[in-house]
């Protein structure tokens, strides 16, 4: 973030825009975190019709949706661009096309309305969501632990302050949500694979099939899911040709979910050891909605006497409320971005500064 130390901008509502992957979203937040309007359009529903395949690259869909969505949100909030304190867009990490559309729109609106612009990191926005007033019984103080478990990211982060993130571990290969989606596809389940696999796992016996648990008990809290995916490939390949028997698929699903649950529980134990002062454990990302995983993480957190905070799904999957909230946090610190701030498809959290 640039222009540090400039005069504190006047408080006011902020427009946030998120378009880094499959969701197009816009939200308007008051300085105290009240959500004045939020809109989200997921292309997942479109993708589902194609078995999870992107029929058209997201950028075009973002472009088609964004303007009407922003104006609709402004209408609900009863505001115009002139009433905003700033306009923020996700500048990375993510798909370059979507990032260019979202930040291009945000910059254009900021120039036209003469408002400050903020180029925000998508992961930082996830990391700060837990501080949104009203979300947790008590707003967690720094530091706290964030486990981000989604289709594109698997990270464990010590959130030590706004702009101060210590990456404790990340996936060495596939993201956990990707492992869910690909395993679900191998089991013949529809997209999105995570919820379908969880439902099927309820019918199965996790002990019926042995699957590996990569990096279990290994020092640190990196993740690895590629070997687990490959083990599922090999199990399915060993079955007779033709569609997998439902009972067998259910056993594999249950075993897969148990393996991921064990891995994540173990990684949280290690993360807590790396950040013993954590005031809370926050879980985010679509995989955090899996009830078996959530229960295990809650158990591990409780053993360490830490509250587990799981934002509602709409706030812990990709959304614009988190972008607008991170922008409010940055504005409070007196920070805005230059209009030349670039999009960064790769933008690790530990490259950020307070």
């Amino acid at each position: 973030m640039e222009r540090k130390g400039e005069p504190h901008p006047p408080g006011g509502p902020v427009l946030g825009i998120e378009s880094s992957c499959d969701e197009t979203a816009a939200a308007i937040l008051a300085p105290d975190g009240r959500i004045l309007a939020e809109r989200v359009l997921s292309q997942i529903a479109d993708h589902a019709a194609f078995g999870g395949v992107v029929p058209e690259i997201a950028a075009r869909a973002h472009l088609a949706a964004l303007d009407a969505m922003v104006k609709d949100a402004l209408g609900e909030a009863g505001l115009g661009f002139a009433d905003l304190a700033a306009i923020a867009g996700t500048a990375g990490p993510g798909l370059i096309g979507g990032l260019l559309v979202g930040t291009g729109y945000a910059k254009g609106a900021a120039i036209a309305a003469g408002k400050p612009y903020l180029a925000l990191n998508h992961l930082e926005a996830h990391a700060l969501t837990a501080r949104l007033p009203g979300l947790a019984p008590v707003q967690p103080g720094f530091p706290y632990l964030l486990l981000l478990l989604s289709g594109g990211h698997s990270q464990c982060v010590a959130v030590e302050g706004v702009g101060r993130y210590r990456l404790l571990g990340s996936t060495l290969d596939d993201a956990v949500g990707e492992a869910f989606d690909k395993s679900a596809k191998l089991l013949g389940l529809p997209y999105p694979g995570g919820p379908a696999l969880e439902a099927l796992a309820r019918e199965g016996d996790a002990a019926a099939v042995a699957l590996p648990r990569p990096l279990l008990h290994r020092e640190g809290c990196d993740f690895s899911f590629s070997g687990l995916k490959t083990a599922v490939v090999q199990l399915v390949a060993a079955e007779p040709p033709g569609p997998l028997a439902r009972a067998r698929a259910a056993d594999i699903a249950a075993s897969f979910q148990a393996a991921v649950t064990d891995i994540l529980g173990d990684r949280l134990v290690h993360a807590l050891a790396l950040c013993p002062d954590a005031s809370a454990v926050i879980i985010a990302g679509g995989v955090a909605a899996n009830s078996a995983i959530r229960a295990r993480l809650a158990e591990v957190a409780a053993k360490a006497s830490k509250p587990l905070i799981a934002p509602p799904l709409r706030l812990c999957t990709d959304n614009a409320v988190m972008v607008a909230w991170a922008a409010q946090e940055r504005l409070r610190a007196g920070q805005v971005s230059g209009l030349d701030a670039p999009c960064k498809p790769r933008w690790p959290l530990d490259q950020l500064t307070p």
């Binding site: 992957c21 993708h47 194609f50 999870g52 395949v53 992107v54 029929p55 058209e56 690259i57 950028a59 075009r60 990490p93 993510g94 798909l95 370059i96 096309g97 289709g151 594109g152 990340s170 996936t171 060495l172 290969d173 596939d174 993201a175 949500g177 990707e178 690909k182 596809k185 191998l186 590629s226 995916k229 490959t230 599922v232 490939v233 090999q234 390949a237 498809p345 790769r346 690790p348």
Partner: protein
């Protein structure tokens, strides 16, 4: 050319040896089913070119493409087209720009007409506990492998 890769290390070693031969303008098409080792090979290839053996090289499945800059200044573009159903939209993912650098493509069957004629085709398949690599391309790739 066919190579037996008995384990993960052998897959990574092949990635490193191909990296030593790669030049700007090269395209490597990594074919094969889920779990065949495409990402493992790509990761070793990218780490070798960046002289960063522990670099995090995440799967590009969800972002579709990840790019890296080697110390030499050459851009390395790692595509994963698993979520696409065809070449439409590849230009939005920097495909034309990528051709000046070194390009790795997983699930290259989605490239259709955009498949570069000079590309190295590398097909990985399950072969017992190990993998089989089949390579098809210009002689300079295969010499001394």
């Amino acid at each position: 050319m066919r190579l037996r890769l008995p384990d993960d290390d052998a897959t990574q070693d092949l990635g490193r040896r191909l990296a030593a031969k790669a030049q700007p303008g090269d395209v490597l098409l990594l074919e094969g089913p889920l779990g065949a080792g495409k990402s493992t090979l790509a990761r070793a290839f990218i780490r070798a070119l960046l002289h960063a053996p522990r670099l995090t090289v995440p799967s590009p499945t969800f972002t579709l493409v990840q790019s890296y800059t080697a110390p030499s200044g050459v851009e390395i573009w790692h595509y994963d087209l698993w979520r696409l159903d065809g070449p439409a939209g590849l230009e939005e993912l920097g495909w034309d720009e990528a051709q000046d650098g070194i390009v790795l493509v997983e699930w290259p069957d989605r490239l259709g007409d955009l498949t570069p004629p000079h590309a190295l085709h590398l097909r990985l398949s399950h072969d017992g506990a190990g993998r089989l690599a089949e390579l098809r391309g210009e002689a300079r790739w295969l010499d001394g492998l």
